[in-house]
């Protein structure tokens, strides 16, 4: 399973950095591990397709694969999930700090100045 997970990551990496959609052959060629069988890559691609991460278009006799969303779009979705305060976020994820109000942010800016002063004081002293 861990191996499949790594392969999925590697295949997505190739698809995300490719300027255009890729055939399975393109992907095999672009993967760092060149000994991979094309069938293995096809298995990984069908898994990714089932997870809605990859879409497939027919191009003559070959299939061309492209990512359904950019890496940044996925990151934005994950961030939204992580910082969604309406949902029960604390149980699922422990965020470093909750979001603060504008007024508190101002006070924190003042605290930062004080914290930085003490930090450099601790280093010098």
């Amino acid at each position: 399973m861990a191996r499949l997970g790594e392969l999925e990551r590697a295949v997505m990496e190739v698809l995300w950095s490719a300027p255009d959609s890729c055939t399975a052959r393109d992907i095999v060629a672009a993967l760092p591990d060149r000994d991979l069988a094309a069938t293995t890559v096809l298995t990984v691609l069908s898994r990714l397709e089932r997870k809605d991460l990859v879409a497939r278009d027919r191009d003559g006799r070959a299939h061309r694969y492209r990512p359904t969303a950019t890496r940044e779009q996925h990151a934005a979705t994950l961030m939204h999930e992580a910082l969604d305060t309406a949902e029960d976020r604390t149980a699922a994820l422990a965020s470093f700090a909750e979001q603060v109000s504008a007024g508190e942010a101002e006070q924190l800016a003042a605290s930062l100045v004080e914290a930085l002063r003490r930090r450099s004081g601790a280093r010098d002293g």
Partner: protein
């Protein structure tokens, strides 16, 4: 058994009323957050035992002087074919209420656990796919570090951890840019402290029950208090490895830039972050006596309802 019922009811009322009302306001909690967390767990468990125990004892009181004896008689009569178990209509209703309440509390906890684990797993699999390792190492290491730290390409600074069997610490590229190296190490230490102390499990029952009993303000208040204490414990543990002022800088910097759009988040702007920064800069004096007192109180709270339920003389 009247005395048992009265004692348990009083305990439940005290815990759900004044205790859960006053404990979140206690200033000394900041000095001993971990022991206070233990006390909170005891308060929650003890209140649950007291409510359910009082209802069960009241229901089967006519059958015997002791709870265990009464239930023995009740089940014996059920087995003998008496569908009421020897209880009148009033006591049957009380028993049903106790059963429904027990099922609801346990069911909500189970369901909430299952949902959380599922959501977390899904999130982690996506993070694993989309995130880049924080420190680029050998490209395909099979024995990758157990607690991998991953970076998501996103300008908004954020840092969080995904607890569980294969835990992760997740940072955004915005957060990596925001902090200097020392601060970044402190933030990672804070998140790893959450993972190491399994704060997800500490928070879980309070999160589940505040959702199940939203009309009980004390439950919601206790959940907020527990959330805050957990952050303090993680701050303290992170500071074992780094300077308190470094973590204070990281926290203040983070809060100063990541505030919510005006009006969007009035509910969560509770001053917690500011309080944490102040606490890091001027740590309250720790007290071994307070610590022992809190643990003793927690133990007493667990022993009281258990004794009341198991005792054979009342």
């Amino acid at each position: 058994m009247t005395l048992t019922v009265v004692a348990l009811t009083l305990l439940a009322v005290a815990l759900l009323g004044p205790v859960s009302h006053l404990l979140p306001r206690a200033r000394w909690a900041a000095a001993e957050p971990r022991a206070t967390l233990v006390l909170w767990q005891a308060v929650g468990l003890s209140a649950g035992l007291a409510v359910l125990g009082a209802a069960a004892a009241m229901a089967v009181a006519p059958l015997s002087d002791t709870l265990l004896g009464a239930f023995r008689i009740f089940f014996a009569r059920l087995a003998a074919g008496d569908p009421t178990g020897g209880l009148g209509p009033f006591h049957t209703v009380v028993l049903l209420v106790a059963l429904v309440l027990t099922a609801r509390l346990l069911g909500v906890l189970g369901l909430s656990t299952w949902r959380t684990v599922r959501a977390r797993g899904r999130h982690r699999r996506m993070v694993d796919l989309v995130g880049r390792p924080l420190r680029p190492g050998p490209a395909t290491g099979t024995g990758s570090a157990q607690r991998e730290s991953l970076v998501l390409d996103h300008p908004a600074p954020a840092a969080y951890c995904l607890p569980g069997g294969t835990p992760r610490v997740v940072l955004t590229s915005g957060a990596v840019e925001l902090f200097d190296d020392e601060e970044l190490a402190a933030v990672l230490a804070h998140e790893r402290a959450h993972l190491a102390e399994r704060h997800d499990l500490v928070v879980l029952p309070f999160a589940a029950w505040s959702k199940a009993l939203p009309w009980l303000p004390t439950v919601r208040r206790s959940r907020t208090a527990v959330d805050r204490l957990v952050e303090m414990v993680a701050d303290d543990r992170a500071c074992a490895d780094c300077d308190r002022t470094v973590l204070a800088c990281a926290l203040a910097r983070f809060g100063a830039v990541s505030h919510a759009p005006d009006g969007a988040l009035a509910a969560t702007g509770t001053g917690t972050v500011l309080a944490r920064v102040d606490r890091l800069l001027d740590p309250p004096r720790r007290s071994a006596r307070l610590r022992s007192l809190l643990i003793a109180a927690a133990a007493t709270l667990l022993v009281l309802p258990t004794l009341a339920l198991l005792t054979t003389t009342l």
